[in-house]
Symmetry: C3
Subunit: 385 residues, 3 copies
């Protein structure tokens, strides 16, 4: 019970705990960290670290690139019902198949990172001829080092290091810590990415945060401090007026994406809120726009069976082909040893007052009425426009 924590996995030191559990009680609040491993089925061998602060419980998957499997706060479930019904071990995900979209065979988390050397659609980077699979490698790489513990101030945390490397590169390391304080409705992701290589590297990351039922329902809405809303293609442009309103499940619905230009508060933080039709429950993301200047809203309100879901996705650049982003000057470069860091708070809103408070905060950052809605894709931003 200190800031060093317990080593759950250290592949280099021959440490791996088959199971691990610690509890901490402060007043009436019991906090628990519980580590176990999925056995049997397509997820066989996936390590799970569950952090329960007494109010909010989140399941982190070190074996899937430190993704967040699912969360619950009070009675509110966060996540979605993907047609991929349960976590899939990275060894059973074949990114290169299905025309480079094999990543979708393992996609079911509340939060999956896309990156680190590339994200976006499958294709070939014209700059170096490299074939790029959908959304990159990071979500299907196991952490080689995982530590976890409860700090002296009661904060619960799990930290994982994931290497995305190969000879001749790219060689990027994700160091991610997920933490929360006892009784809180907020969890914090603190990520640092380091270019381990001796040469400068391309780098991009997108936090694919996915919300389905019960928060997503007909009439659910997104509130965001939006300066400008850009439909990514003509199909999205048709419904620009309702860009932040979510439809009922509809079989055969074709996904629509919008890029949002967000404003930030005096501390540089943007906050977006997705709430249900009655604004009684919601979820918020809070993050700095300096490190995460781009944001994508992914509307995929298909049939429930097909994965009725909305993606709220802060990112370093836009989920266009990497060469497009490079051309537009949005693709990041990291020098040897250079790091990039960000932090994202995911806040569960489980009462009308919590939703209202969050919406007030969004409005205070930037009034919704001043959002400019583009009626067509902008060539500067939309490779598919």
């Amino acid at each position: 019970m200190n800031d060093q924590g317990t080593v759950l996995t250290d592949a280099d030191q021959r440490i791996w705990l088959d199971s691990f559990r610690i509890e901490n009680q402060v007043n009436d609040t019991v906090s628990v960290i519980d580590k176990w491993t999925i056995r049997g089925g397509p997820g066989d061998g996936i390590d799970v670290v569950e952090i329960d602060n007494g109010r909010l419980c989140v399941s982190v998957l070190p074996t899937r690139g430190m993704g967040l499997w699912k969360a619950r706060c009070d009675d509110l479930l966060l996540g979605w019902d993907s047609p991929v019904n349960r976590p899939v071990h990275p060894s059973l995900v074949r990114p290169g198949e299905s025309g480079g979209a094999g990543w979708l065979g393992g996609f079911q988390e509340l939060l999956a990172r896309c990156g680190l050397a590339w994200h976006g659609p499958p294709g070939t980077d014209s700059a170096d001829g490299r074939p790029l699979t959908l959304h990159g490698r990071i979500a299907n790489l196991p952490a080689h080092r995982v530590t976890s513990g409860i700090a002296d101030d009661g904060r619960l945390w799990v930290r994982g290091e994931v290497d995305e490397t190969a000879l001749f590169g790219p060689c990027l390391r994700l160091d991610s810590t997920v933490s929360t304080t006892p009784g809180s409705n907020r969890l914090t992701i603190l990520d640092t990415v380091t270019n381990l290589a001796g040469t400068t590297a391309d780098f991009e990351v997108l936090y694919h945060t996915n919300i389905g039922s019960p928060l997503l329902e007909p009439g659910s809405r997104l509130a965001a401090p939006t300066r400008r809303v850009i439909p990514t293609n003509a199909h999205a442009a048709v419904d620009i007026a309702d860009w932040n309103l979510f439809a009922p499940p509809q079989a055969g619905y074709v996904e629509q994406c919008y890029f949002l230009e967000l404003a930030a508060d005096a501390d540089g933080l943007a906050m977006i809120v997705l709430h249900d039709a009655e604004a009684r429950h919601g979820v918020a993301l809070e993050f700095p726009i300096a490190s995460l200047p781009c944001f994508t809203l992914w509307k995929n309100t298909v049939a429930t069976a097909d994965g009725y879901v909305v993606g709220i996705e802060p990112s370093t650049d836009l989920p266009n082909p990497r060469d497009f982003e490079r051309d537009k000057g949005r693709l990041m470069r990291l020098d040897p040893g250079e790091t990039w860091s960000t932090h994202i708070d995911l806040v569960s809103l489980t009462s009308q007052s919590e939703v209202t408070e969050a919406l007030d905060r969004v409005a205070a950052i930037h009034p919704a009425t001043s959002a400019h809605l583009c009626d067509s894709p902008l060539p500067e931003y939309c490779s598919a426009g």
Copy 2:
């Protein structure tokens, strides 16, 4: 010991039994179900459920899509000696490699299902541009739920559910039960496939049942209630007269395939028999032609070292490219939630009388003499013709 059975694996309920064994004795017959896991080598992590009814013993592989690894009845071994010498974990099979034929790196079972969203040769479906790998995904997907038990009537069974899903589909579920009664020479496969998706789905399945030595030997024959025999290409057409006679192992033999149009009995069942040269031992498949209207005979009488084998393969449609089958109206479609079911009995024939009885049954369904042998491929059926 009831119809509910024991849960061996339930990935969603955090249940996985490392090992499991139950026995049941009725008179002098001892029945056993034994579950274990392959450790070490390329099969590391594959769960095996062995069912022994006192006469017939079959090994089912939940981790390989509920395929049947091998069987033994009395002293008769059923299966073949694949050059893939032992089961391979799905994570080590790379379907997209070898020009889309990587499936062959894991092919060694007595019965492997091909499907569910597609089977047949690698290629691209012209209707949607999807790249399709040889024989689909189902044989390399682990069951997420496995139950097993001995029913009150003594019937031994194992049941597995396997999801073949991805975001943007297809999303099909196989629910397969393999069962047998004490002292019987017959095992029954009862399969149900459900379209889990919210939209209509393509569906096709082929039961790749593979017989090598000792049943397969020079002079072994197939008996089937055949209305018509169609060679799949010119190479097969050359030997149409001997379509049901099997040659000795021959290095460099080039495979020959024949499509059979089968008749059924009053209950709608077809039965086919493969027996050795002296008709003293054999194996039969019995299945309904309503759900399995197509049948392929695969002659691959290569050198013993290369996998001397014959495939007897009932299926929903023919193992042509999927777009070809769609064009010909044979590809199945399942509406959202719709199910397809079939059952296949695999019968071991371990005496001359059992073989004779089976052959009589085949002849009673449809006399062999009335089979029409096509002397060339038919464009309606043969994409490679």
Copy 3:
């Protein structure tokens, strides 16, 4: 403690030892064999067999095709710091990705075999249209049978069998034994490859032996009984004069390769030595040129972070595309059941006298002064020239 040893893995006999350890003391020298399994991270499930003869300790990876992970002799570490920081389970290596160079995502051993059906760059064999991934399959195939023991004469050994097979071939088996005697600075690899198929098979293998820091440093040199040095392309030709001198780490360095035509001693053995700048430490490879007639020197003196390394690589033929090697008559063919064998000694040189003795031996085989340095690639040898 006999020549039969202990079975650590036999996938066909249901044997797998989770751990295993034996010790043997002769006078003051304690020998140890220790088997364990990597748990957690990208190497989860890799079996490791460590052999320590009291002076030399080597780690063999049966799960990665019997590759040598790393070695230590006295205080000298052998191996390199690959950007792939630790062993990767074969199921997480995807050879077909990155344009067929996915093998590089698992490349970090002291010695990785390239082969067996092909090695060299990704491409398509024009003879049969087969797509070939970088350096073949063998390094990412788990041994199905592993035995280990200490012989009556004190020799420590581990032996593994690895099948590289698929229906329709190729079907090759590697049978590899790594052994060493107590107190020795020498380990011996004895490899036999068998064509298990019923038809003649292509076969090629290259022993990718990789040396980084501390042996590799600015001023390190290779000594070899070289008749002729052939740069593989124009870029390598530029520096032909310094072909055996190694540069300091340099970010962005572009790899250079040289093919060496080696002389052998009266027993048919060639020996090459790589030593540090002061010739105080080194490593030697000794092998028969009858079975390993080709040799590649791979200079990859990139930045330390990118994998500062030199490859010393005996092989059956050159790491050109397989069809090129076939055309030039260097590609091996194995008849059904035919075997090919070789042996390689890896010798650690941990004192100036040991280095000097080894250099004398190299010079005795063939004086360095008589090496002919080609000033440009030769079309007969260099596909990339």
